[in-house]
Every structure is written in structure tokens, then in C-alpha cells.
Amino acid sequence: MIEQYNLLEVEKLSLGFGGGNGLLRSQPAMILRDVSFTIGQGEIIGLVGESGSGKSTIGKAVLKLLKAQEGRIRFDGVDISDLSEHDMRPLRREMQIVFQDPYSSLDPRQTVRGILSDALDIHRLHTGTAREPRLVELLDMVGLRREFLDRYPHEFSGGQRQRIGIARAMSVEPRLIVADEPVSALDVSIQAQVINLIARLRDQTGVSVLFISHDLSVVRFISDRIIVLYLGKIMEVGPADLVHHAPLHPYSKALVSAEPRLDQKSSRIRLTGDIPSPLKPPSGCVFRTRCPFALPACAEGVPELREVAPGRSKACIRDDIDMETAA
């Protein structure tokens, strides 16, 4: 059951890059447009989208590692949108990040002990004699042996490095973790281990997770709710199983049916063409250039994200598409 208390509330977040400097000012590329969502206490939200959808940007913007141009971010009821870097510092302990690439996410010049101690030092946690037991506890939490403390990152496999990255994030006892494609760089046989670990940590510590991935089947398993993102806009939000089994938005349906599965050949929506550049997004609905159901009206207004069933929303003007027979 989803908790009622909203730990994170994101409201109409917009973010763009570039725009050039000096003489040659150009149109900024809008990566996110009017993105609103919430994450409940202890909830895992899956954020799915393809390259260019802005899913990683959302993760960094929520942590204020990127500055959003517009919109509000409230963490635990406190508006953090306009906090300076200095004022954010104590809050950083509450919200952490896990990265995709297990090779660049750990400082190659530090041992595991150094990496984890750094995190604790910054917030002056578990100092003195309390340090060693805490380090061991952290490794234990992610399923690594205590002998690993004095090894360097290059001595570990990708899956083990990812566990160290998770231990670093958990070391400061955060209440929110942004997991940015945490398993996509791992081999299939290792992926499941890390997914299980994240789910277990949520159960044990009650941490909320923003789980970013391009892989719908992974997100379906781990998330309570799923947000489907396309070209910086939310297309659909809903409970994980429902979005996966009975998507409401044509793009969600296309994503589901593009998923490589052992038992394919059910109804399929095949998209054609490429994701448009964020520099020149289509007018109206951003998905209309690839949408098999697009109408002339889709080019006109930007469709609102509206609730169509309890807990389910979509940003599509059409309610008359029967997804099952459509393909």
C-alpha cells in the first residue's frame, strides 16, 4: 500500500541547457517541461524513458545538482528550490544518489574505507571508535565482506562496485535515494542481485527511491508506481503493474510492446522515426510525430496530464483508443 505522506513533491519543473553565451545566444534546449510528481515515504517510483527523455536530468534536478529554471521542489515539506549550495549542505544527508556506471562512480585513488569514511566525515557521523563498526555494518548491509574495506575499486567486479556505491549512499542514512540506471551497466546475471538489494534496503530502512531506468520490466518489478517520460514531458503515471499490463498512453504501449520478451507476438505498436531533438520539439503533443494514433488536434494544444482513473493519469487527448486491438 502506498504511504500517504509525500516525502518529495515536484511541481512544474522546467529545465533547459545551453542557449550559448556572449554574442551567439541561441534557443536553449528544454530538457524538462512542466514535470510534476510526488514520492511517498518508503515508496519506490520508477522513472522510465528513452535517451533524451530527461529522466537522469530529473534525478539530478531533484538533488539540486542541476539548477531548474522553473518549478518547485519540496522535500519533507520544505521548499528547497531556492536554497543556496551552502544551505543545501545539511539536507544533502537526507537525499543520496546511486549512479549507472560502476567504473566512474568510485574514486579510483581511494580504498573502500576511504570512500565510505569520506561520506561519514562530511557529516561528522560515527567518529572515533564508532567508525570501524559502522563501516563493517555498511558493507554487511550491501552483502560485501569486511576484508574488502582496504581494497581499491579496480579490484572489484561491476556488481561489487555497484554495491559499494549503494553503501556510500546509505552511509549517511538518507530518506531518499535517486538510483540513476543502477543496473543497466551490469550483466543480466548480476542485475537481479542489485535489484533485490535495493528492494531489500527499502524494506529494511524505509528509504524512498526514485528508480530511473530505460528497462520497463526492471522498473515494473521494483516500483510501486511508474512515471513514463518522453522528451521531457510526463506521458503517463500509474501503479506499476497496471502501467505495464494495461498502458493508457500510446507511448507507454509502444514501450511495453518494444520490450524484448521470450513469448512475444502479442499485440504490438511499432514506432517509426527518431526521437525529435529537444532543440526543436514538435508543437502540441511532443509524441505526435511518432504516434500511430495522432490526430490533427494533437498538433495544437499541449495535452494536460489528467487523472483518468483513480491513481492513474495520462497526457493524451484521445480516450477512444482500444490498446488491445489497436495493433
Binding site: E50, K60, L63, L65, M88, R89, P90, R92, Q96, I97, Q100, D101, S104, S105, L106, D107, R109, D118, A119, I122, H123, E147, D150, R151, Y152, Q160, G165, R168, D187, V188, S189, I190, A192, Q193, I195, N196, A199, R202, H214, D215, S217, V218, R220, F221, S223, D224, H244, H245, A254, L255, A258, E259, P260, R261, L262, R270, L271, T272, G273, D274
Partner: protein
């Protein structure tokens, strides 16, 4: 930690990283140390005044009292050359350190804070770099007058921009890396991020630049002194000694040669250290990273019995072994692989990273990385005129003839597989123009036709585009068009959809399925880690683990009735296979514990046994062979499949 456990665990020896000196650095470091210390240590031992003149003995040759003889004023040359070194080294080392400190700070701050700080730090460097170094030095000398202090300032100004630029670039690169972002996300203050996280990770290039600068400073100092604008007489310096000796060059060549040799040896030793440092810090430049091209492969003696391929087969691999021999001991990367690809059918090779699946494809093309070789087995390929070719016996030139025409290949990264400086169309028809000598106009027409066939919209415009103008999906279509352009009998596809988005991946898979069903379709060897993708394309599947095929057979059988525990585990660990499970109900996904063994750590017996839930004692002793299970086409390499099912 006790001593015994420390010695039992070799990696704990690295616990406190004392500056262990790399073997390749020892000699140059020792030489540089001597060069640095000798000028200060030796003169007191000699006890000779470098400025004491003995006019009667001017130009005296080497003797016991004066090993290098006396100069034009009868001064001891050895003493002078050593004292001269003091001035040169002092100026060089001090100015290198000053410029390093200033430049590094500017670069680091610029890269961390970006914005105005970044702009100013790069532009300051750019402005100073507009002046050729010696000219800048001369400008300052004009205004401040010659002398040692001036020199140190001059050299610091000349050399700090290079540091600022290098540190700025390196720090900018590092600041994008996740571990730096992680430090910021943890709430580390800028000072901590810059000096504790970023600086240690860019220390390599800074040290290289420092030693480069020290050498350059010696050169510039001596040059200015040579012009009479550096160290002022009577203090001896090398440049000045050469200047002084010039007038007596004919009479006394030794006088000029001694300081010349001293300067050159000093710089040579510092340069040697720099070069070695670079090699050690960036091993890529030394040996690795030079794949494929070079040296020409000699012709191998043809195998005695030249087997022929079955009529419907375009590729057969028999008992293939591939090994690398980098450190003297050969390490097998692939062992005893048998595969067959039929015309118009798709054989999939499935495995995780390091399983050897890509190497198998590369050996078919004769494109193995340098140092990796086929050590046993046969690769038989159908040529375009129907003959059977033994690929392993071909020379370099014969391989060129079959590549593209009999076997074509597409790769994982469409972003880097095309050369950015040529239009895609030109790359598409490049090989056809050389192999078939068709006219440019005709090749262009054919190329556009192929683009159309692989579903490229607006093929005429795309033909004239540069690769960076196309999306990943389009580039992969171009790669496929390129591969098909010479109508090969075999298409090797090495993870062709892995780098693509799922919706684009689905399009490419559809394209490959359509290709397979078209008339005159090539046989496809499809390499992938993704069983879901493979399920849609493959007619036959071979699963590789740790360099060996552990299970193979018809696709439906392998996927539907997998017999090897590894294949089963792979299928089970796909989240898509468990739609009934959900994390919120405290379900866990079935997973395989542990990681695949590295090639040099593969255990005896079955390589999967350490991760296998069913392993029994025989698995550790005897390596299971591929034997048929269920039917003659379905093979598995597991002791447990014999007799009873797992």
C-alpha cells in the same frame, strides 16, 4: 590486523599506498636525482674556487688537478660547469614550482566554479599563450633588467598558462565523473571536492607537465643567458659559458663542448623521466590499443584434409581455440567452440561480457586484437562462388578479399563505427568501388537503393549526410546497408541493438527479421547478451560461458527446455520472466550469485560450478563435455543432464 593475516592476504599490502616506485621509473629517477644533487654536493668536495683565475695556464688540457682542464681565463672547468648547473637548476626548479602552483590553482578553480572564473582562467592563459615564450621573456627583461630574480619571474609567467590549461581541461573532465558528483551530492564543501577528490585524480598530468616545464625552463634560462640577458656575469651559468667560449671556438672546441654536453645530458635525463612517467600513467600509449592492423599475417600451411561445407551451411566452426599470450603463458579465451550458420537462418551466440562471444565473431573475420590468436580448430566459410574457404589458413590479402564480400559485420556502437569525416554514402559504397570497380555514379545509385532497402527515409539526402547528423538508429541502418551492399553469404551482428533505445531496437530487430525472410538472405550469426532479443530472431542458439559453449540447439528447445543450469539461471534472472513477482510484496528475483571467472582464473572442472546451485563433487574434477540431451540437436555440457534431469 595481525601480521599473519596481512601476509596471507596480498592485497592488504597496498593498504597505505606508500609511493611504490614503478620499475620503469627507477633508472630515470636515479639519474635525475644525481643531476640535481651533484652540482650542490661535489664543488665543496673539490675545494676549487670556480672564479680563481690562473692566466698562465689558460686553455690547459685535462689533468689530475683539473679533470676537464682550464678555460679562457684559466679557471677550472669542472668547478665552473658544476657551479653553472646550480644557477640553471635553481632557476628552473623554482620557476617550475611557482608556475605549477599558480597555474594549477587557476585551472582547478576555473573548472570547479565554471562561469566567470572558468572564462577568466582560460582567457588569461590564452592571452599569455599568444606571445612566443622567448619574446615574452625578452619583454620582461627589457623592463626589469637581467638577473636571476627576473628570470624566475619571467619563466613562471611563461609556463603557468600551460599548467592552467592542462589542469583546467583535466579537472573539467574529472568534474563530470560520477565520483565527483557523488562528493557534491554528499554535501562536501568546494575545497574538499577540489583538493581531496579532484586534485589527486589529476596529479598524473600535473607531474608530467612539471617535469616537462623544468626541462623547458633549463633551455630557456640557458638561451637567455647565452644572449647575455639571463644570469649576469661573473656568476657562471651554462648559457653564459657557451657564449664566452664562442670567441675561442677554433682554438678551444672543448670549452664549448663541455657546457653543451652538460645542458643536453641534464635535459635528456629529465625528458627520459617525463617520457617514462607518461608511459606509466597512460599505459594505453605504450602497447595496448593498437588493434588489428599491423603486422601482416603470414600464410599458414593449409590443413591437410580440406573438408567441404554442407550445402545449406555458410559457416562452420569446428573445435575453435583462441588464446592470448601476453605474459609468456598462453591463456585460453575460447575453448572448443563448434558452431554452424545456415543460409537464410540465424544462429545466436548468447553470453555475458567476457564469455568469448565477440572473439568468436572476430576470428571469423580475421580481426582478432593484436596478441590474440586462433590456436586450434577450423573456420570454414562459404565463398560467393560456392567454394569452401578455410579462414584460419588465409593470408592478410586473402582475408581482405573475403571480408565484406563473403562475410560482413555490424557492430554494437553505431556512433563510433562510422568515420566522422566522410559522408555516410561515401563510406557505404567505398568497398564496392574498390572490389567491383563500378563507376561512381552507379555505386551511388546502388548505395541509395540499399539505404532504401534498410528503411531509411529520404535516402538521397541521408546518403550525403555526415554521420554526426544521424541518430543512432539511422546509423545502425547505414551499417546494415553497408554490410549488405556486397551481398555477403554471412552476416555477423555483434550486439547490434544493445546501444539503442528499446523502441529503436525493436525497429532494427524487425528489419533483421525481414532481411532473414527475404530472397537470397545471408546466414546471420547474431551475438547478444539479451535472451529476449535472441528469442525473436534466432533459429539456433548457443550459450557461452567462460569461453565455452555450455548449451546449444534449436532456439525453441533451448529457450523452452533449457537443460544447463547456467542457461536456466539466465532465463530466470530476466525480470520480464517474472510478471507475477513484485518488490512491494517482498518478492525477490531469482539471481545467480557470484561473478563469472576471469580467463586466467577459470577453475578446473566445470567453470560454472562455483555459482551453480546443483554442483556436486564431480563438477570440480571433470570438465563436462557437450553431449546430446533429449534429442541429437540439443547439446548441454553438464554432468547432471546425463541420466536424470536437473
Amino acid at each position: 590486523m595481525t601480521i599473519t593475516s596481512a601476509s596471507a592476504n596480498p592485497s592488504s599490502a597496498f593498504r597505505f599506498p606508500l609511493p611504490r616506485i614503478h620499475p620503469r621509473l627507477r633508472l630515470p629517477l636515479a639519474i635525475v636525482a644525481i643531476v640535481l644533487v651533484a652540482p650542490f654536493a661535489v664543488p665543496p668536495l673539490l675545494g676549487i674556487d670556480p672564479n680563481a683565475m690562473s692566466v698562465l695556464e689558460r686553455f690547459a688540457g685535462p689533468s689530475l688537478a683539473h679533470p676537464l682542464g682550464l678555460d679562457e681565463f684559466g679557471r677550472d672547468r669542472l668547478a665552473r660547469v658544476l657551479i653553472g648547473a646550480q644557477a640553471s637548476l635553481r632557476v628552473a626548479v623554482i620557476s617550475a614550482l611557482i608556475s605549477c602552483t599558480i597555474g594549477s590553482l587557476i585551472g582547478l578553480f576555473g573548472a570547479y566554479f565554471r562561469g566567470l572564473a572558468g572564462f577568466l582562467s582560460t582567457k588569461t592563459a590564452d592571452v599569455v599563450l599568444c606571445f612566443p615564450p622567448i619574446l615574452l621573456a625578452l619583454l620582461v627583461v627589457t623592463l626589469m633588467g637581467p638577473g636571476t630574480t627576473t628570470l624566475i619571474w619571467v619563466l613562471s609567467i611563461i609556463y603557468f598558462p600551460a599548467f592552467a590549461r592542462i589542469v583546467y581541461l583535466e579537472a573539467s573532465r574529472v568534474s563530470q565523473l560520477d565520483y565527483v558528483v557523488a562528493a557534491k551530492a554528499l554535501g562536501a564543501r568546494p575545497r574538499r571536492v577540489m583538493f581531496r577528490t579532484m586534485l589527486p585524480n589529476i596529479s598524473g598530468p600535473i607531474i608530467v607537465q612539471l617535469s616537462l616545464t623544468a626541462a623547458a625552463a633549463i633551455v630557456t634560462e640557458s638561451g637567455l643567458s647565452y644572449l647575455g640577458l639571463g644570469v649576469v656575469p661573473p656568476d657562471p651559468s651554462w648559457g653564459q659559458m657557451i657564449r664566452g667560449a664562442r670567441a675561442y671556438m677554433e682554438r678551444d672546441p672543448l670549452g664549448i663542448i663541455i657546457p653543451c654536453v652538460a645542458i643536453s645530458l641534464t635535459i635528456y635525463s629529465v625528458n627520459l623521466l617525463t617520457d617514462r612517467l607518461r608511459d606509466v600513467l597512460d599505459p594505453k600509449g605504450l602497447s595496448g590499443g593498437i588493434p588489428i592492423l599491423s603486422p601482416r599475417r603470414p600464410k599458414v600451411q593449409a590443413a591437410p584434409q580440406s573438408a567441404t561445407l554442407e550445402a545449406d551451411t555458410v559457416l562452420r566452426i569446428d573445435h575453435l581455440d583462441v588464446a592470448t599470450n601476453t605474459n609468456g603463458t598462453p591463456i585460453k579465451l575460447i575453448e572448443d567452440v563448434n558452431l554452424r550458420v545456415r543460409r537464410g537462418r540465424c544462429t545466436a551466440l548468447v553470453g555475458e561480457s567476457g564469455s568469448g562471444k565477440s572473439l568468436t565473431a572476430s576470428s571469423v573475420m580475421g580481426l582478432l586484437p593484436r596478441g590474440v590468436n586462433v590456436t586450434a580448430g577450423d573456420i570454414m566459410l562459404r565463398s560467393h562462388n560456392g567454394e569452401t574457404i578455410q579462414v584460419t589458413t588465409l593470408s592478410g590479402e586473402d582475408l581482405e578479399a573475403i571480408r565484406g564480400r563473403d562475410a560482413a559485420m555490424i557492430f554494437q556502437e553505431p556512433m563510433t563505427a562510422l568515420n566522422p569525416v566522410y559522408r555516410v554514402g561515401d563510406q557505404l559504397i567505398e568497398a564496392a568501388k574498390i572490389h567491383r570497380s563500378v563507376s561512381s555514379a552507379q555505386a551511388r545509385e546502388e548505395g541509395i537503393e540499399f539505404l532504401k532497402r534498410v528503411g531509411v527515409n529520404d535516402p538521397v539526402r541521408r546518403f550525403d549526410s555526415f554521420p554526426h547528423m544521424l541518430s543512432g538508429g539511422l546509423r545502425q541502418r547505414v551499417m546494415i546497408a553497408m554490410a549488405l551492399s556486397m551481398q555477403p553469404g554471412l552476416l555477423l551482428a555483434d550486439e547490434p541493438t544493445t546501444a539503442l533505445d528499446v523502441t529503436v531496437q525493436a525497429e532494427i530487430i524487425d528489419l533483421l527479421i525481414a532481411l532473414k525472410n527475404s530472397a537470397g538472405a545471408p546466414g546471420i550469426l547474431f551475438i547478444s547478451h539479451d535472451l529476449g532479443v535472441v528469442a525473436q530472431l534466432a533459429d539456433e542458439i548457443a550459450v557461452m560461458y567462460a569461453g565455452r559453449v555450455v548449451e546449444q540447439g534449436p532456439a525453441a528447445t533451448v529457450l523452452g527446455n533449457a537443460r544447463h543450469p547456467y542457461t536456466r539461471a539466465l532465463l530466470q534472472s530476466m525480470p520480464a520472466a517474472h510478471e507475477e513477482l513484485h518488490a512491494s510484496r517482498s518478492d525477490t528475483l531469482p539471481s545467480i550469485g557470484g561473478t563469472p571467472p576471469l580467463p586466467h582464473e577459470r577453475p578446473a572442472g566445470c567453470a560454472f560450478r562455483d555459482r551453480c546451485p546443483h554442483a556436486v563433487s564431480v563438477c570440480a574434477e571433470v570438465r563436462p563435455d557437450l553431449t546430446s540431451v533429449d534429442g541429437p540437436d540439443h547439446l548441454a555440457a553438464c554432468h547432471l543432464t546425463r541420466g536424470s534431469a536437473v
